[in-house]
Symmetry: C2
Subunit: 352 residues, 2 copies
């Protein structure tokens, strides 16, 4: 493509998208000509719209209706046209306040984040719990609890802690446990959790003599537990406010799909190191989302990418706003979590 569209076409297209995002109704030439930012007669606009339709940026539901932006138009809008909306002072303040007030549990912070995301955007929000795949092991201790169970306490280099209750073979003694944990420590310290599961575990399984099986099982239990991904979904009901879901059948299939949780894998799919991903309509792998757009952003704790979150809305979502909110939210969540996991010490992330 050379210069995609001349300035006037751009302006018209922007106006159409803006309007459609707001009203969900096909927009016509007259409506546009009334706008302040477009000083053209309806007829001229009609000509331009005709061109835009031919180029695939607009669609007509039927002959005598206005035009509706195509997915191609949204794509262009997102990458070239829209001016990213700013959060209002109030919103920014609100987010900061609510995020730092819940400093007790990681889970709570994630939930609150999801709530705020959908509260501000009025769409459906999805927030992943931070995973620890890339965290490096620092220390493992095994504490006997009852006959047949022990607690594994795992500390990672970032300072994060996790504990899992393990079932251990009945006969095992405290001395045994200590031996095993010291073994684990010498062999595993410094490695990533994800490596433990994929590569180190098989190796170790061969090497350890006596308690081979128990050690292996324990490790598997630990890394399973620490690798499991949980996702908070909030605001699904919001979708019912939009005319695209005024059909109950559509609403139902969307909500069911959400509940099944397959959708979440799509959000979860972290595209390498990409900061933010915008998937419009059929760009989503899941056919259930073909009328939705999904914007996701990853967040980092102490520089390490540990999870992502996203907003799901109709294709005519307010992209500018959502992008702004997500960006802000991701940064702030990162800060708060970093602070939490490091025990309030202010290193790593700069918490202004």
């Amino acid at each position: 493509m050379t210069q995609l569209l001349d300035v006037r076409k751009m302006n018209i297209l922007r106006a159409i998208v803006d309007d459609y995002i707001l009203t969900a109704a096909p927009v016509g030439s007259r409506t546009l000509s009334k706008r302040d930012d477009i000083e053209l007669s309806p007829a001229t606009i009609r000509n331009e719209m005709s061109d835009l339709t031919e180029l695939g940026f607009l669609e007509q539901p039927h002959t005598s209706a206005g035009r509706v932006p195509s997915e191609k138009a949204y794509r262009l809008y997102v990458s070239n046209i829209m001016d990213r909306a700013q959060l209002t002072e109030d919103e920014a303040e609100y987010i900061k306040a609510h995020l730092s007030q819940r400093v007790s549990e990681v889970g709570d912070v994630i939930k609150e984040t999801a709530r705020m995301l959908s509260g501000i955007t009025k769409y459906t929000s999805v927030v992943q719990m931070p995973h620890m795949k890339n965290a490096r092991l620092k220390h493992i201790s095994l504490v006997p609890v009852t006959e047949g169970s022990a607690l594994a306490i795992v500390v990672t280099n970032s300072g994060a802690t996790n504990s899992t209750l393990l079932t251990v073979p009945k006969g095992i003694t405290t001395a045994h446990l200590e031996k095993i944990s010291s073994l684990m420590n010498t062999r595993l310290s410094g490695y990533k959790l994800v490596d433990v599961q994929t590569t180190l575990l098989p190796l170790l399984r061969e090497e350890v003599g006596e308690q081979a099986e128990s050690v292996a099982e324990m490790l598997e239990g630990i890394s399973n537990d620490m690798t499991r991904q949980n996702v908070e979904v909030v605001g699904a009901a919001n979708m019912l406010d939009y005319p695209e879901y005024s059909d109950v059948a559509k609403a139902k299939s969307f909500l069911s799909e959400l509940e099944k949780g397959e959708v979440l894998k799509e959000v979860l799919s972290d595209d390498g190191d990409v900061e933010m991903t915008i998937r419009i309509g059929k760009e989503n792998d899941n056919p259930e989302l073909k009328d939705c757009s999904v914007i996701t952003v990853s967040y980092r704790v102490c520089g390490e990418q540990v999870g992502s979150m996203g907003v799901i809305g109709p294709t005519r979502m307010d992209y500018g706003k959502v992008v702004a909110v997500l960006k802000f939210m991701s940064e702030n969540l990162g800060k708060v979590l970093s602070r939490m996991l490091l025990g309030d010490g202010s290193d790593g992330a700069n918490n202004k």
Copy 2:
């Protein structure tokens, strides 16, 4: 009330409720007379229906429509008329299989229970995580993890274990922690968790000298963590299948309310020792549920009532089926959890 209704009226009422539960459409005299179990002419039935209307068991949406059961009718139906449906072999089998296959985590078992409940009933299900309020403390240990944090490991008399990460004052040493935990053990062992929070904590706070504040904070952290109630909700989207929610606005307000979570408190409200509660329509405290019925049942682990679960559906829900499923599910969940918490030893509950 003497004998509430004569046999024929009962039969007719049952037939109407049965039919309405199935079709959600007002049922007329002709429809009824065609049924095999009622051998009367439409005219006779009309007379009876007229009586039933006067008695408050039936309602007419408008003059020329059939009759619809009133809440009073459902009440009667539930307590006197319905024959509790049995689960099919397949369903029972299915439940047992899926429940015992997920023996790893309590949370998973609860989730699976909720999923099956709504899967079988096609309504919305709500399952509470088991609480430990009534569990008696057996042992507490505090394990230092990093500078500034320690893990509290709590074992209860039933063998259940729980661990919480606590933040401790920076200066504290391992020796300190040991002292504190032994103090906790001597003073608290044998008490119920719920008592710790409400009555023991203030007492203790005065008594301990030196580390008063830290101890108190820790205990508060522990008991907060162990008392928190979590609830799984599954199948909300199912409601959209029923004509009573074909109005999107209604659907939306129901779903929003569910998401807000206030509804859950209602389910949670354990009516003392009552096994099963059925709330029909406006019997629900929450006005949002005035067109719903909620059936809840508590479940027990080792004889102790530790949580409850329920099904939310339209007032014309299939009461017989739901009651049967809930009863079965509650028993089986109890068994599975008992087995899990006791570490597979088969005492307490009899696991056939």
